[in-house]
Subunit: 461 residues, 2 copies
């Protein structure tokens, strides 16, 4: 039998049962006690150590519940047959700090990537989360490739009701963020596709297309959005567009241009429109325009959206609605893939949508942005020379001040500690409207608006 | 002023404040009440409708909290400037059912993809979740590209202590599942890389490499794992291997073969080993072998792992440890990417690791699998002709029964309603050991083990 050499210290801070527990853990880890070996009986232990039965019982129960030891009925306690390697690392890990700690946030945050999450409904989200974790053990198992049915059903309802999207839940594919989904989508589109991207436009979509080794054509934006005549002459076959609130110009594509684009898509084999419904959640003053997808009779529009701006940047759930032909292709080439989104988060988001929390949250945040936008525009336009455009939706607009060049506007703002971006930095081949900056107000605290405007007034004197 | 035409019904089931609330919602939705328009004062409403002040107050408070209306101090209530489109969908969404409802699970589940989640610590997970949601509002904002520091620090500690991995948290990249991470990794490896994949081996890695358009060479497995001489002669430059418990052969690569592989990698420019530490969490009888990564002095091993098998398939957190050269490349080409994993789930997993829940859970599940494995092997080996191999780790092994051909073994098992897979189905160019099946026991209920073995005994009489 296994020989025990241990003295328990009844005066130590560590309770005796824990001293005994730790002793056995060390013996097992070091290999002194080997798999399958029997521990002394409780009675023998009590007698040997001169401790109470409850001390030994507690220690053995801990060893069992932690998986070091198995109890066999009418036989005793055995070191379990399962082993985990435990070594001390050669070098202790030197923990890193988060980037948030490392880089300070600017005092006046005009970044277009910022989103206000101050009104996030923690208690509802947390309550849904708890209910989902407890009530749905099946969510631990493999989910559906395209995303779980509950979330796709809820998305289908929501997009139909609020965006005029016409689809069945079976056409929806859910994925971990827009970049991932873009990569996936590129692999579904025809091999000889040539991509028309908005110019000026998103840097990240340029990056994704280039990274996938696919040919791209920057296509200029006019007052109605992507120019269809320029699209025609570019020779591109797939047009990526942000019709609700073009980034960065802020143009909302009118119905006429949408029809033209749809006609273009229906007019050639393998032509598609990727409708990124960016910023459609927030419209001010005018009624929102329904999605192009709902007007598409030819099955040429891929509708894409995300919760990263409308709920929170850290929530990695994006979605796309595939037309029939691409859905078939998705199914034929993605036999091995699994959904990239946690099923728990899918289930929480499904209830967040279907139980009305999302619509309520959007209204609340939308109101906040609306008030902030009004105050900011009023403050900025009171500065000599400044005018604002593209502010009908979303959480950014353009600011033009012809008194200085773009470079000089930026330089002077930077002198006051204000970081802004010039419109020209979003251009590939286009020539940006002169003296124009892109102003995001998602990250700008209400209180700072007049302060920031005051500083810009000084800077641009 | 806005003209109100409404009669409240004091005998209706719907409380009067809600009737009033609903009336205004409809007026706003339909456009009768427009943005910026002022609602009648509370006093005027009370007088006009002949209702109590509290009825009007409740209705107005609801309208404010739902974002339809804004209160302006000392002025009154105004329809908010923010609008959401609300249309009725042309076609109501026809909800789909989950695949779990559609396809029945087999009674005896010998699939190698199954994982037992019966012991999942719901209450700890849920408690961590709740704390994280409430206490970390900053987690709503954009996280770190490679994964949040807390999770990478915890992973670094854990992999160092339990797997002998030597790395800094800065080398770790976290992503939404192994397939996504494999895609990402492929894009970092040299453009002229040729991939050696284990044969027999994982179907999904073949798919990923092929899908990325990269050349691949199936390399045979011998009794020690991937054959280095065959690897040499294949001309491949990147070797993908599962040394802890080769899938599907179940071989554990001994130290000698690991050294040979490391020498091979160090011996040529652009050579790398992808060490998929699949199934390393579960070892029976023998002490686990530390990861090759910890023995690599040349910076040629990429260590990859996932929580999909060790915690639950639905948790989409995989990780890789990049050597310096690839880390630089990652940083240079992924400037636009964001982490694909929810920051909440990252934070929960970080605490699950660093507070010891994970190690405890692994011991508990490991014990369960260990007992199940013993019982299943004993039951199967009592069948005439059957022997078992590759069972030293993980949650699957090989079963050989030379009395019948593989095809006949499967056919007869299917006759008893038992679905199994033949080893040959995992072969590309290799010739599988005859009469051999791959048996997964992660999804096999303890109670069903003797029953399933009994049915196989009948089937293979």
């Amino acid at each position: 039998m296994y020989n025990i050499t241990l003295l328990l210290d009844p005066r130590a801070k560590t309770p005796m049962y824990e001293q005994l527990y730790r002793y056995f853990v060390e013996e097992i880890r070091s290999g002194h006690l080997r798999q399958g070996e029997k521990l002394p009986s409780k009675r023998a232990m009590c007698a040997h150590l001169g401790v109470s039965r409850s001390t030994v019982e507690t220690a053995y129960a801990l060893l069992c519940s932690e998986g070091y030891v198995n109890a066999r009925a009418k036989s005793g306690f055995y070191v379990s047959g399962f082993v985990m390697l435990e070594t001390m690392p050669a070098l202790p890990c030197r923990p890193i700090m988060t980037e948030i700690q490392r880089t300070e946030r600017p005092e006046f945050d005009f970044s277009t990537a910022s989103v206000d999450t101050g009104g996030f409904p923690y208690s509802s989200w947390s309550k849904l989360n708890k209910e989902v974790v407890y009530s749905s053990p099946e969510l631990l198992q493999i989910g559906e490739r395209q995303g779980d049915a509950a979330l796709r059903n809820a998305l289908c309802e929501f997009l139909g009701e609020y965006r005029g999207v016409k689809c069945a839940p079976g056409q929806i594919v859910v994925g971990a963020g827009m970049e991932y989904l873009s990569m996936l989508l590129l692999s579904l589109l025809p091999e000889n596709a040539v991509f028309a991207l908005e110019d000026p436009g998103y840097a990240s979509i340029y990056h994704t297309v280039r990274h996938a080794g696919r040919p791209l054509r920057p296509v200029p934006i006019d007052a109605h959005g992507m120019s269809v005549s320029e699209l025609e002459s570019s020779g591109a076959t797939v047009a990526y567009t942000t019709p609700s609130h073009q980034f960065p110009m802020g143009v909302t594509m009118p119905a006429g241009r949408r029809s033209e684009l749809l006609r273009w898509a229906a007019g050639g084999d393998g032509r598609y429109i990727i409708e990124d419904d960016y910023d459609s959640e927030f419209r001010y003053g005018l009624r929102p325009v329904p999605a192009m997808q709902g007007m598409d009779a030819a099955g040429r529009v891929i509708y894409v959206g995300t919760f990263s701006r409308s709920v929170a940047p850290s929530i990695r759930i994006a979605y796309m609605v595939l037309p029939e032909a691409l859905l078939e292709r998705y199914r034929s080439i993605n036999g091995f893939s699994r959904s990239t989104v946690s099923r728990y988060e899918q289930a929480v988001m499904a209830r967040f949508l279907s139980e009305g929390f999302y619509a309520r949250y959007l209204r609340r945040v939308g109101n906040l942005y609306s008030r902030r936008r009004e105050a900011l525009i009023a403050a900025l336009e009171s500065i000599d020379g400044v005018r604002v455009s593209g502010s009908g939706g979303g959480i950014h607009f353009l600011l033009t001040n012809p008194r200085f060049s773009e470079h000089e506007l930026l330089r002077r703002a930077a002198g006051q500690g204000i970081a802004l971006r010039g419109l020209s930095s979003f251009c590939r081949e286009c020539v940006a409207e002169p003296s124009t900056l892109v102003v995001g107000y998602g990250g700008l605290d209400d209180k700072k608006i007049s302060q920031a405007a005051e500083m810009l007034r000084l800077a641009w004197k």
